[in-house]
């Protein structure tokens, strides 16, 4: 991606999408540049995982670009220190390393101190595919969500990732944004409403609600809705890009109006989107739920990313199958 080549294009337009190649990590970095150009408080922090087609931030703002080498605790701690001085660190690394290797630095130096720091975690979920469980990140939402003061965002595609990054930059306090390196399916175009804490209804439907969050699976949920529509089942689809704070109002409405919620996430089924939705719905409008994600296991199977999704039933066909089963179970009750 050439950063300069998209400067004059409308974000999310066909030409912009073509040039940005729809990789969320690249559009996130594009937005980071935008933040830095407009506000000198923004710093870019790296831990030796920053080369996604060059270093445009480092090239343009060398004084505000700090690489800590392979030392996440050092990086996150320093982010806490920078934020004590009013800087806004934009922390870039893999989701698993940023949140788990440096977990306690995130907890104390960022979250307890309400540091105005943003963590952009790439390779979230199973996107690292062939790389194996060391690089899969399937617990990050649960961990990030448990920290007081933390905002947790999982954008649905590269366009959404751009707006999520800008929103995170302007949102006071610590924010974790879940990203991926590969090109992922497009959900949004020029019209991409993004407000932290406010989910988007992508498709109306009254038979059940698919609640999805994150790259790939939101698009897969839309695909599942299309399959189900062919069978006469109308599924509502919500993009819950902000897992914390969760959009309780939108969820309660969907629960009341459709009576069945199925959450879809590329994350362990414990404590992620499914947990967050269950917590809200149980209090607001209890209805049957299904939580689709990765069962209590590490993905040792060696294979490409799409195959991982298929095996866990997180592709459109798998989501549609779960929806059918859940509807059948509800009819039997």
């Amino acid at each position: 991606m050439s950063v300069a080549s998209v400067a004059d294009l409308k974000v999310g337009s066909a030409a912009w999408i073509e040039r940005t190649t729809l990789s969320a990590v690249e559009t996130c970095r594009l937005a980071q540049l935008e933040l830095a150009r407009n506000d000198e408080r923004f710093f870019s922090l790296e831990a030796d995982l920053g080369d996604f087609g060059g270093f445009p931030f480092r090239d343009e703002f060398p004084g505000r670009s700090i690489d800590f080498g392979i030392a996440e605790a050092s990086m996150i701690g320093a982010a806490g220190g920078l934020s004590l001085r009013g800087k806004i660190p934009l922390i870039n690394t893999f989701a698993s390393f940023g949140l788990m290797r440096a977990c306690e630095q995130v907890r104390l130096d960022l979250c307890y101190h309400k540091a105005n720091a943003k963590i952009f975690g790439t390779f979230a979920g199973l996107q690292a595919g062939f790389s194996g469980p060391t690089h899969h990140s399937i617990e990050d939402i649960a961990i990030a969500r448990a920290f007081p003061n933390m905002t947790v965002i999982a954008p649905a595609d590269a366009v959404s990732a751009y707006w999520a990054t800008l929103a995170a930059g302007h949102h006071p306090g610590p924010v974790f944004v879940r990203l991926a390196v590969d090109v992922t399916a497009q959900v949004y175009g020029e019209d991409c409403p993004f407000e932290i804490g406010k989910g988007n209804t992508l498709r109306e439907g009254g038979d059940l609600t698919l609640v999805a969050s994150g790259l790939t699976v939101v698009a897969e949920a839309l695909g599942a809705a299309k399959i189900l529509a062919g069978e006469g089942i109308e599924a509502r689809v919500l993009d819950l890009h902000t897992v914390k704070p969760i959009d309780r109002e939108l969820l309660a409405q969907a629960a009341r109006e459709t009576g069945l919620l199925i959450t879809v996430e590329e994350h362990t089924i414990y404590g992620g989107l499914g947990g967050a939705v269950a917590e809200a719905v149980a209090e607001e409008a209890p209805v049957p739920m299904r939580i689709l994600g990765i069962p209590d296991s590490y993905a040792e199977y060696v294979g490409p990313y799409p195959e991982h999704l298929r095996r866990y039933g997180l592709d459109a066909a798998g989501i549609a199958a779960s929806a059918r089963q859940a509807l059948a179970a509800r009819r039997e009750r």
Binding site: G63, R64, I66, F68, G69, A71, A73, S74, M75, I76, G77, A78, A79, G80, G81, L82, S83, L84, R85, G86, K87, P89, E104, Q105, L108, D109, Y112, H113
Partner: protein, 290 residues
């Protein structure tokens, strides 16, 4: 009335005054460890002169009436378990009333066993070890970027230096030439489970820091004159972070707690309080020489 800057006194009075201040802080620590459910006695007693020279000898540029004053030096007290010593120093320096020390670890108090971020004079909540130096790097980096003259002082325990994050940060501080950063290690030689060299050896400790790119000075951490000369001489080298390796005694000043890992943490009984106070001698009348 507390003295705040012994460095303005004649040399003959200056060191005596600082020694008095350190003993006054120790008296507070003894009472905090006796009146509360317990305190980290050993590490509080060993770090007393370090805090005394930082706060009462004109090293730290801070203003208790404006704890967040722009341009202040930053003190990051990474060995946060020794909060009794930090609170005693902050109170005597005027960041909050000395009377408030009585509320140490009492219900509803802000003086928690490990410092809360809301306490005046506390820049970073510490207690979990290995956090101070990475955060100190960030504060120092911001100062370099902004071209501001403030300094960042980080006080570490020696056992704390078994944490890997300390060495990650040590590497980064040297790599980025943070000569506005000063780390002071309270080398009391004893950690919770026993002597550091038995639990997890740190020596050759000074050489480790040197090899990581720091300019090191070793001092007697209970000799206020030695400490003062070192802390007024930072940075020791242009373009390098400074490390003061302060040789101290765990539990210093309280005979039964000296060198005793069992007094890493504890509550003083009333009898132990009396013995400790007898060891320390009469509470100095602070500021009496001014």
């Amino acid at each position: 009335m507390a003295l705040t800057n012994a460095s303005e006194l004649p040399q003959s009075d200056r060191w005596a005054d600082l020694r008095d201040t350190a003993q006054a802080l120790r008296h507070h620590i003894v009472h905090m460890a006796a009146d509360s459910p317990g305190a980290h006695v050993g590490g509080s007693m060993s770090v007393t002169e370090i805090l005394t020279v930082l706060f009462f000898d004109g090293v730290l540029h801070v203003d208790p009436s404006q704890p967040k004053m722009e341009g202040r030096d930053y003190l990051i007290f990474s060995k946060g378990h020794a909060s009794a010593a930090l609170y005693a120093a902050l109170a005597e320096r005027g960041f909050f009333p000395v009377e408030e020390l009585k509320t140490y670890k009492q219900m509803g108090s802000r003086l928690a066993g490990h410092s809360l971020k809301s306490i005046p004079g506390v820049e970073l909540a510490t207690g979990s070890l290995g956090h101070g130096l990475p955060v100190g790097n960030g504060v120092a980096m911001a100062g370099k970027y902004d071209g501001l003259p403030y300094r960042t002082f980080v006080v570490l325990g020696d056992g704390e230096c078994q944490e890997g994050s300390v060495w990650e940060a040590a590497m980064a501080a040297a790599h980025y030439k943070l000569d506005n950063l000063v780390a002071i290690v309270d080398r009391n030689g004893v950690q919770e489970d026993g002597p550091t060299e038995q639990i997890m050896a740190l020596e050759p400790f000074a050489d480790k820091w040197r090899s990581f790119g720091w300019e090191v000075r070793e001092v007697d951490g209970h000799d206020v004159e030695d400490l003062s000369k070192a802390l007024h001489a930072v940075p020791f080298a242009t373009g390098k972070p400074s490390l003061v390796l302060a040789r101290t005694v765990k539990g210093k000043g309280v005979s039964f707690a000296e060198h005793a890992h069992s007094w890493h943490y504890g509550k003083l009984s009333s009898e132990q309080r009396e013995r400790a106070l007898a060891d320390l001698g009469p509470q100095p009348v602070r500021g009496g020489r001014s």
